[in-house]
Amino acid sequence: MSTGPMFDARALTVAFGRSRVLGLRAIDLTIATGETLGLVGESGSGKSTLARSLLRLNRASAGSIRFQGRDITRLQGTPLRALRRQLQMIFQDPFSSLNPRLSIGRAIAESLIIHGLARGSEIQERVAASLAMVGLPATLASRMPHEFSGGQRQRICIARALCCRPQFIACDEVLSALDVSLQGQMLDLLARLKHQLGLTYLFISHDLRVVQRISDRVAVMYLGRIVELAATAELYAHPAHPYTGALLAAIPTPDPLIERARRFVALPGELPSPARPPAGCAFHERCPKASARCRTELPPLADIAPGHKVACFHPN
């Protein structure tokens, strides 16, 4: 095992479709073993695409991805399948993430079966162990997905991801479909599992409150690029990129006096279409600080403080 970061992506670019629309643009990112990296941004910013790239569920058009020192960018066939044991993902919608025709026990055991990790009664034991880890009794293994609520199904999906003992789990908006009170429980569960099993997480969410609670570092994405990257406390206390600032300002605080006195000015406009990205800094059309330079030049992701990177010509 190398001592470097778990993931090392350089200039990672992913294009879609015949018109080669860029979902990711030259991403440089490292994820350290054992950390939880939060990934925030609006829909269309490329967060899910990034997660899928790391899991090799799509193909990079340019750049490279290294996992534990090994280049996996062009991996195919058997070695790719073997890699899948280490990398798992949990998805947003608990209602379509489970095959309605398979019992949940069978669904959880899928990775065991595919990789031949267990046989016969051992499969049942491991499924029961996975269910226990997420707080569900083993007797439920024979039930079908439609018998469970959204929160329970999400837990089943977590059990499924854990069953093959992966090292890395990408959580793609896993809390968005759940109620607020359930979100807290789910976050606690994920945190506990991380410590128990020594996992590394990529935690994607558009809800900044949630990301703050679980992440060690946070990356902010905009239109396929990372525009800010810092330790959680630092990012939330001193957001440098105007977009990060706008995101944080948009979070409702549970205090009517503050909220009403705020004279809140919502960030105008919307995310530009990835098919027609603006020149220069992609954010300049909505940015209150945009200058002539921002309209023509692309700001690089650079350090403004140790461990705090921003891609902006006029950071705060």
Binding site: E42, S43, S149, G150, G151, Q152, D179, V180, S181, L182, G184, Q185, H206, D207, L208, R209, R213, A246, L247, A249, A250, I251, P252, T253, P254, D255, P256, L257, I258, E259, R260, F264, A266, L267, P268, E270, L271
Partner: protein, 320 residues
Amino acid sequence: MSEPLLAVENLCVTFASEHGAHAAVSQVSFSLRAGEALGVVGESGSGKSLTMLSLLQLLPNGASAAATRAQLGERELLRLSRDQLNSVRGREIAIVFQDPLTALNPVLSIGRQITEVLRHHFNLEPAPARLRAVELLTRVGIPDPALRMNQYPHEFSGGMRQRVTIAMALAGAPKVLIADEPTTALDVTVQAQIVSLIADLLQQTGMGVIWVTHDLALLARIADRVLVMFAGRIMESATCEELFTRPQHPYTQSLLSTLREGRTATTGGEAPMVSHADPAPVGCPFAPRCAWVMDICRATVPVMTPAAHGGQVACWKVTR
């Protein structure tokens, strides 16, 4: 104080299933005044959406609603005939739903969809209807409205689509606008925009707005009063400020502590799914999750009684 626009007393929604009748919403009472924003907060399964749908008789098959009173102005909503209902829906009360994609017809241009609403309610000729539609689109903040009238839903982003549905809801010049989780599917920046929009509309028109959500923090910005629902019942009702500063009900308190500190004060577990066929629960529905539960809580359902903060609360711990 003027007469309330909407007055509801003892609303119940029951589901008839093979296991017998099941009350999804019980004894819900509230009122709404002109220019007021009423927030309704609750988890999924709390019955908040069903309550709203029942007012317009939009309940799913097998569900029926009854109330001592469900009055919009002079009319009893639950006793309206089909024709009378059609003149209320969209015209007196309009609903904006969570998912704008399914609320909009993908094969009709949005201009067509808005003008259709206008012509249905006001019998306008095509030309004045189009003008009004462009006005409405401008009102909800859509740039280049004349151009975008001819575009189709899929050409709009999520936030824009929701603005279009709001425009359609406003087309009938309703007295009451019900927004059922309108921003849940939207990004946080777009959510902030929509909240601002609705707040502006509230000030400019005499409309009453009911905002249904599971995110209590959202209501801090826009609600004048808040109802907290759980398992088909109202647990607490108060002005927004009072609810956030002096919450009386344990459930409200736990919601707020989750929001503020990120810790849940309850003993965990999921809210009972209201439409599932369990035998009718006895006592306070929150009892299984309540840190202060007493014997009486498990035996008898608490009634809404006046509380210290000027609102009402249904809790034995408070009213003893």
